[in-house]
Symmetry: C2
Subunit: 416 residues, 2 copies
């Protein structure tokens, strides 16, 4: 099957896992929005509450074309609805409370104390709707000595141990490209929300959920904890290698070309000695098969520079794609270092439905990566992020049975 | 409230979100086990199916004390049960099928084609139990040209774009310490499993779920996609800075001390100019307040080395903890780069229930990080990973109503 629009559609579907689940989303930027976007992909109705006028600050944040929503915003708000509400007005708060009465989930990631100052603390909201799942994302945990400090993704990654295990061996700490403090936390909160929703189906009662970005980061480095438990020492940095730095050969091997990503990554599993033997065969060093200097993991670890030089002599004769295809076909575990331009251009992802083209009203047509888990063979169909306030009328009518006149009045008074 | 055993207990509870949910877990190493450990923390009964004798290979993998289970294994298998079964025997397969008939979820992350060779492909299992959620984790997506290639975490991180956006600006690609290809994928599969379980409550029907580690990695770099959509170029590497590399000041600042992690990370949000003004006040450069050379994000970006030198002159006079506490209290967004030894030793995490001490039968007492989301104020209580086959009798009796004699016979015949 070759690529093309005709073949894309059957790979996608509107997932119905969370059909009927209503989510009121007061979150912004990334940690909260990544969470609710996921729930929207699974079929929940996610209603973003935004300031009248400009809306959520991420709309006019990073990677923005003047007067249009940012590309950043579009990545984290697909498949949602947008409603505007002035939460500084009493009527705005009253409408939000009415929405919460009709919702299954509420989520916020405002600065510490902000939700209570709005009069929407947990005790208030629980009284309005006892079956509501009330979810909060903060930088640091309740009771943590830094609870009131400001936290963004890089800070959570530093404080949660991630940066201490990322970077070159003798270099400074590096921040992973992925926003583990943000999206990483959002994914964990999505799990707990789903758990609490499942529970609510049995019990009829909601839960309060709280996660700290620092704590979430700490939960993503379990291999590093294993190292510290084993050695009593801090886990270090190992460049392109795993925190199990002593497996040889592994890591980045330069290939033909002078681009920043002209590398393959190799990881010869210590539990599968055949992988290294296959590698020797591919690179034309069958003469070393069975040689005790290279036969075991421990032996190779003692001559890592020599082993790596031998491999690089071969990889430098091939582009990263050639090297990967030859070695991969021989069942040596390797991957090319692909960048976002390589991946964006590869029609295979669109053909399989992981990437889908969406038509945004102001940004036009572009492709984005959606929910990567296939349900009964289908990827969740992506709808572009809403314009600010795009769904105010629709939601107020459907959820609150509000008349057009009432909505018009709210609009005139600047409440929406 | 100070630390100490008396104060730990009330922070934890057995979560009951998934009470009554039964999971048959044929996964190994990390991607699958991280997923099912999460579901166990939420209250599911997770039964690991292992080879009689030595059990899952991760038991004798990385960070192992001779003749004991590895620290690695313990990180990913808390709160589970272990059952042994010889899947090369007909009776072993028959028992597994009987377990699947009684289960809500099945998960495997074996090599491509292996589950079908065991006679447990989706069509077979669906016929046994149509309400079962059947979850599979592979390296590459079905229909991907590299579908049959071997894939471990670093390879997925390379092929999924993550390594291309991690590392120093002019350096080679770096692998983030966290196993995004493994645990990152496991978390996404946990979300889809929970979605499918929720759906099954409404419909009585299960689903087949499939995720590729490469695809999961691609979904974790949405900020990098935003960059590529905005510029048309591949997103690059930015060391300790975010992929939004042009925000100034941000990144790692050296502090007093000569340890590899004696740094603070700073991120002055471009949308909140006050943060930079507060920073100037703390470092004693009020003279620059209002100076147009530093007043805006764009102005500072033109003199980043100078701005960074000014900040470093101050940070070098303080330890990372001092620098963080002074700046953080002044509402400048900073975090110290904490390593796994720092964090392990900090009693605050145990006091709050994120880290809990467990008593393992052979490894003794140690602390581990559990599920970071608090449910109604409680962290999920951690139980140590089971010994191999520890729960065979219990599960066969409870799930299959097997007699002691029958189990004894299976044991004698080497089936369990």
């Amino acid at each position: 099957m070759e690529g093309g629009a005709m073949n894309v559609e059957p790979q996608t579907a509107e997932l119905d896992c969370l059909a009927g689940v209503r989510i009121v989303d007061l979150s912004q930027y990334e940690a909260g929005p990544s969470c609710t976007e996921t729930l929207a992909w699974l079929g929940a109705e996610v209603v973003k509450i935004e300031r009248p006028g400009r809306g959520e600050p991420a709309r006019y944040g990073y990677a923005r074309v003047p007067d249009k929503d940012s590309w950043y915003f579009c990545q984290f708000n697909a498949n949602k609805k947008s409603v505007t509400l002035d939460l500084k007005s009493e009527r705005g708060i009253a409408i939000l409370k009415a929405l919460l009465k009709n919702a299954d989930v509420f989520i916020e990631n405002l600065a510490p104390g902000a939700i209570e100052r709005l009069g929407l603390g947990y005790d208030v909201v629980r009284a309005i709707n006892p079956r509501l799942v009330y979810a909060q994302i903060k930088g640091f945990g309740e009771g943590n000595r830094y609870e009131d400090f400001l936290a963004y993704d890089p800070i959570a990654q530093a404080m949660g141990g991630i940066m201490s295990v990322t970077g070159e061996r003798n270099g400074p700490p590096v921040k992973p490209g992925p926003g583990l403090g943000d999206t990483g936390t959002g994914m964990l909160m999505a799990i707990s929300i789903l758990g609490a929703l499942y529970r609510a189906k049995n019990t009829g009662r909601g839960q309060r959920l709280q996660v700290a970005m620092q704590d979430a980061c700490m939960s993503y480095i379990r291999l590093a904890w294993a190292h510290t438990l084993h050695t009593g020492e801090a886990c270090g940095r190992h460049g392109a290698k795993t925190v199990v730095g002593n497996v040889v050969p592994q890591g980045a091997f330069r290939c033909k070309g002078d681009g920043p990503n002209d590398y393959i990554i190799m990881y010869c599993h210590p539990g599968v000695p055949e992988q290294f033997q296959r590698l020797l065969a591919v690179i034309g060093r069958e003469d070393l098969l069975g040689d005790p200097r290279y036969a075991t993991q421990a032996a190779r670890a003692e001559r890592e520079p020599e082993v790596n030089a031998m491999i690089t002599a071969w990889t430098m004769q091939h582009t990263k794609l050639e090297a990967m295809e030859i070695l991969g076909a021989a069942k040596v575990p390797v991957g090319a270092v692909l960048d976002t331009k390589d991946l964006y251009a590869d029609p295979d992802f669109e053909r399989r439905g992981l990437m889908q083209a969406v038509e945004h009203p102001t940004l036009g047509r572009f492709k984005m990566v959606g929910w990567p888990v296939r349900h009964d063979g289908k990827m969740a169909r992506i709808r572009p992020a809403p314009l600010v306030g795009e769904n105010t009328d629709e939601v107020f009518t459907a959820w609150l049975d509000m008349s057009d006149d009432e909505i018009e009045r709210l609009r005139k008074d600047g409440v929406v």
